[in-house]
């Protein structure tokens, strides 16, 4: 469903952020994307949601391909994705409920279906009781749950999470991670970029590791990769 084929990414003033990266993530899969700071994790995610285009190679996401992606197709692509970040990116002047509803309003959803959908996802992330709270009245973990609810409300095929627990303490981290696992259990694929190795060890999921822009480990092709790395 998400396929990177020999992707290189160079930024205007910088070295190669991604070097010959190829991998495939299937429907309903849960994949960790790990690597040191600057390894290229965020860049991989940004290529998936077409915030950037590859310098060479192709990125395919659910029927869209960067080889022939038109600018006006990007919104359609993004409606199939849910995206969350380390810094939550909520609107401070809106309640939890309004923040989630915002994602539906701006994608032209009929008003009558917005309220029930919003309540459903808020309940799913365990925040039904705090629907009326503003972000500043919520803990970091709760804010991240609102952000996840917003990402889920359009029923995405994949949830992209860029360091979602980076600002959270251990307890909140566990809670958010468990939430992502629950979401994955309902059939939504999850790609979780993190450098928190404790998190990675907690679950037996697919792990893709980047190092200086190169894919150095993919648990799905563990044996092959090991040989490749060993021979370097």
């Amino acid at each position: 469903m998400i396929r990177f084929n020999r992707v290189f990414k160079a930024f205007p003033k910088g070295s190669l952020a991604l070097k010959d990266v190829s991998f495939h993530v299937a429907k309903s899969e849960f994949a960790f994307l790990t690597g040191h700071s600057g390894a290229g994790k965020s860049t991989v995610l940004r290529l998936i949601y077409a915030d950037e285009l590859p310098t060479s190679g192709t990125v395919r996401v659910s029927g869209f391909s960067t080889a022939n992606l038109k600018r006006r197709e990007i919104p359609k692509l993004r409606r199939r994705l849910g995206i969350v970040f380390q810094d939550f990116r909520l609107l401070e002047d809106r309640t939890a409920e309004e923040n989630v509803a915002f994602a539906l309003e701006v994608t032209g959803t009929r008003r009558s279906v917005i309220a029930p959908k919003v309540m459903r996802v808020l309940a799913q992330v365990g925040l039904a009781a705090k629907a009326q709270a503003y972000p500043r009245e919520l803990s970091g973990g709760e804010q991240q749950r609102v952000a996840i609810a917003r990402a889920l409300v359009n029923d995405p095929l994949v949830l992209l999470a860029d360091e979602p627990t980076g600002n959270l303490d251990e307890r909140a981290t566990r809670g958010v991670f468990q939430l992502l696992r629950d979401i994955n259990a309902t059939g939504t694929a999850v790609i979780l970029a993190t450098h928190d190795l404790d998190l990675v060890r907690q679950a037996p999921y697919r792990t893709i590791e980047l190092q200086d822009g190169a894919l150095v480990y993919d648990s799905a092709e563990e044996d092959e990769r090991h040989e490749g790395v060993a021979s370097q």
């Binding site: 949601y49 006006r72 919104p75 409606r79 990116r89 309003e105 701006v106």
Partner: protein, 285 residues
């Protein structure tokens, strides 16, 4: 749609000074345009009145026999440009002078002989009442042997014509200047709003809002400001019109349709300004 309207209205609260400035400049642009428009409208009114009175007066040589004049009247009446010919005898001319120049009554009574010549007053048909046709007819009239002198109001008409043209051009130039200022100010307002709403715009993009959707509030905002500016311009023009009507002379104001056109024009101006600047500022947001 609700979201679009809410966002558009919010911009007034987010940048009140710039919003007021934008509306005011649009208002001034259209006010100036309107002021000269009013001048043009009133000049045109005055011109039609004057044009209706355009007549060519041919003074006849003293002692021209009535029969000759009658034949000439028949000829002149047959000119394609001519509506009517009126024969004013020497006596009638004196009588008119007496009535019109009451102060000099005594002077006329003392006259032994009548110094006023007889004349033919020639009215032109509508459509021929301009300086060019008046001149053509006058030239033809000068062919009559008994034509002593021929007068027509060509100078007046030509001058008023030119005045109207100048008023139109000055109004357009000044109006365009203000319109350009309005364009710049609306552009600045939009840049500010884009900056203030960068977070929202960013999130809209992430969740898959289309460019058109993101743009709409800005366009509506601009159109709204333009419409407001147009309405203000009409109010200002009406004020100017009242002042002139009370103090100077009875002037004419725009018709309802013309006033509506102002608001429409303002709306288009505001919309265009937004469209231009949102295209430049949004991609970088």
């Amino acid at each position: 749609m609700r979201l679009t309207i809410r966002e558009a209205l919010l911009s007034f609260r987010r940048a009140p000074v710039l919003s007021v400035l934008a509306v005011t400049t649009i208002a001034f642009a259209l006010f100036v345009l309107g002021l000269f428009g009013l001048v043009a409208v009133n000049l045109r009114g005055a011109l039609t009145q004057i044009e209706e009175r355009v007549e060519i007066v041919m003074y006849l040589t003293r002692g021209t026999p009535v029969e000759v004049v009658t034949v000439a009247i028949g000829d002149i009446d047959a000119f394609p440009e001519v509506e009517s010919v009126n024969y004013v005898t020497e006596d009638q001319a004196l009588e008119r002078a007496r009535q019109q120049l009451v102060e000099f009554q005594g002077v006329f009574d003392d006259l032994a002989t009548n110094p006023l010549p007889a004349s033919l007053e020639i009215h032109l048909k509508p459509g021929f009442r301009d300086s060019r046709n008046a001149r053509t007819v006058a030239q033809r009239l000068s062919g009559f042997r008994f034509a002593e002198d021929i007068r027509y109001g060509s100078d007046w008409v030509a001058k008023l014509d030119r005045l109207r043209d100048i008023a139109g051009v000055v109004g357009l130039v000044l109006g365009a200047g203000f319109a350009a200022a309005a364009l710049i100010i609306i552009g600045t307002t939009i840049r500010m709003t884009v900056l203030a709403r960068r977070r929202e715009i960013h999130i809209m993009r992430l969740v898959g809002a289309t460019d058109g959707f993101i743009r709409r509030p800005f366009l509506l905002d601009g159109a709204l400001k333009g419409a407001l500016g147009g309405a203000f311009a009409i109010a200002l023009n009406y004020g100017a019109f009242l002042a002139v009507s009370r103090g100077l002379f009875q002037a004419a104001f725009f018709s309802t349709e013309q006033s509506a056109l102002f608001v429409l024009f303002g709306t288009i101006l505001g919309f265009a300004a937004s469209a231009l600047s949102v295209g430049r500022h949004l991609p970088s947001a």
